[in-house]
Symmetry: C2
Subunit: 286 residues, 2 copies
């Protein structure tokens, strides 16, 4: 595995593969502090692509002024070791100046999809995500880019942006990887105290029960969000940011007159445990 | 020359050139209704590139609600003939649905550079330009893209966007092509009545005199805009939208404490003759 810190160096190393007939480039953008979720994406790319590129960059643009940019966990050395073991060929590790040379004046915005869920709780977050993902896709020019469904709204935003702007990359959503007790893998899980960690599995437990009830029709669609919130509140340390049941991937409200069958519905939650905000979701095809 | 109407068809035809060692793709986005200005860009691409692509698309996104989108002059048949004669290999002529399939939710904004000149007079115009140019660059993936300096602010906006978003295309600004009497070539010149057409050369006459005075130092920098406005007002049909003297390409105000030598200064005007709004500029290196 080679580690590259500049756009120019990475492009130079990727150029020969771009010209080789049948060769494909697979890419995963990450904030680093890798866990099994990241590694599962890397392995998927390793199976499908000739060359596997990963970026490690904690993108300041997607953190709000009162969010955890400064304390976001970082361990690049460990990340590089894990990436290499999982089969990465090139790791792109730029600094902030390389990504945002002054003056940086361009912004990318995806409307609609970003007005609810984390878009509502974290104003500007998805502008920052869209901008950095577009930059990285332009830098790497991958055939496929892999994203975890834990950030389902991010997947929807990136897919819409790629479609709207004709970015020649296929976005591949991959399933959320979970701890044995169901907690979605997240770099932020390290923030949790033992008590918070013990209660956090309530999220996925509730989401999977809600998905079952939705499929069976035992809780009406209009009451599902309230039912989920009620279940989550049984965990004393859980402080709900949002619980929403929406169409996926448009993230538009569910109108009850829409035909039920074949519709994709997302049940999405963001819940604080102490200072740590966790998100999780399930997507159900009706 | 081949005419293509869909993104998929164009990409398929360009793919072999992309893999050929040493082959380069040159591209000019146009609104059509071609004149010598467009053709000079095509010839420059023909000299420098293996393959020359031109797009003809009147982009609704860059016209304001009270602007001339509907009456913007169109003659695709004539355009295709002229493009072929000038050496174009592929003409991309999409319709609005091909470029903006519903729902279209992504916007690109370049701040700073767009706050003055046409950015101030035409709110949203440069968002529309940035978005469509980014789409076209992603569709064609050219090595070089050619833009006329008549739209100097557009060149500055596109260069900033390409730099900020790491678009792997070199932006090549080309000199404004003029009528024998100095009037900058523009598709909108056909709107002018004979009287308006007779007075329109006052723009370039004034700009070139202003450039000379700026170089000689015979009009102080701080008084130059007023001097230009005064000269243009000698044409009775001229109705000034703006006259500005700014740094180029940042389009920031000139602070007199900045070092003079080597600085690029743009003298830019937008002037209405009847219903027709014309723009012109000169860039002077001090």
């Amino acid at each position: 595995m080679e580690v590259l810190h500049t756009v120019a160096a990475l492009r130079e190393r990727l150029a020969p593969y771009r010209r080789r007939e049948g060769a494909t480039i697979g890419f995963m953008p990450t904030l680093g502090y890798m866990h099994e979720g990241h590694l599962s994406l890397i392995r998927e790319a390793r199976r499908r692509n000739t060359v596997v590129v990963v970026s490690i960059f904690v993108n300041p643009l997607q953190f709000g002024p009162n969010e955890d940019f400064d304390r976001y966990p970082r361990d690049t050395e460990r990340d590089l070791k894990l990436a290499e073991e999982a089969g990465v060929d090139f790791a792109f590790v730029p600094d902030v100046k390389e990504m945002y040379p002054e003056p940086f004046l361009t912004g990318v915005t995806v409307s609609g999809i970003t007005s609810r869920l984390c878009g509502a709780s974290r104003p500007g977050h998805f502008d920052g995500v869209a901008t950095v993902v577009l930059k990285l896709l332009n830098i790497v020019q991958p055939h496929q880019a892999y994203f975890g469904m834990k950030d389902a709204q991010q997947v929807a935003v990136v897919q819409q942006m790629v479609r709207d702007l004709n970015v020649p990359t296929e976005i591949v959503p991959c399933p959320t990887v979970r701890e044995p007790d169901g907690l979605a893998m997240s770099s932020r899980n390290v923030y949790l105290t033992p008590e918070e960690r013990a209660q956090a599995p309530v999220l996925y437990k509730t989401l999977s029960e809600a998905a079952a009830r939705l499929r069976e029709g035992t809780v009406p669609l209009g009451k599902l969000a309230d039912w989920v919130a009620e279940q989550i509140r049984t965990a004393p340390l859980a402080d709900i940011d949002y619980v929403e049941v929406l169409q996926y991937p448009s993230l538009a409200p569910l109108s009850d007159d829409a035909p039920r069958t074949g519709r994709q519905v997302i049940i999405a939650v963001a819940v604080r445990f102490g200072k740590t905000r966790l998100i999780d979701n399930v997507v159900v095809t009706l």
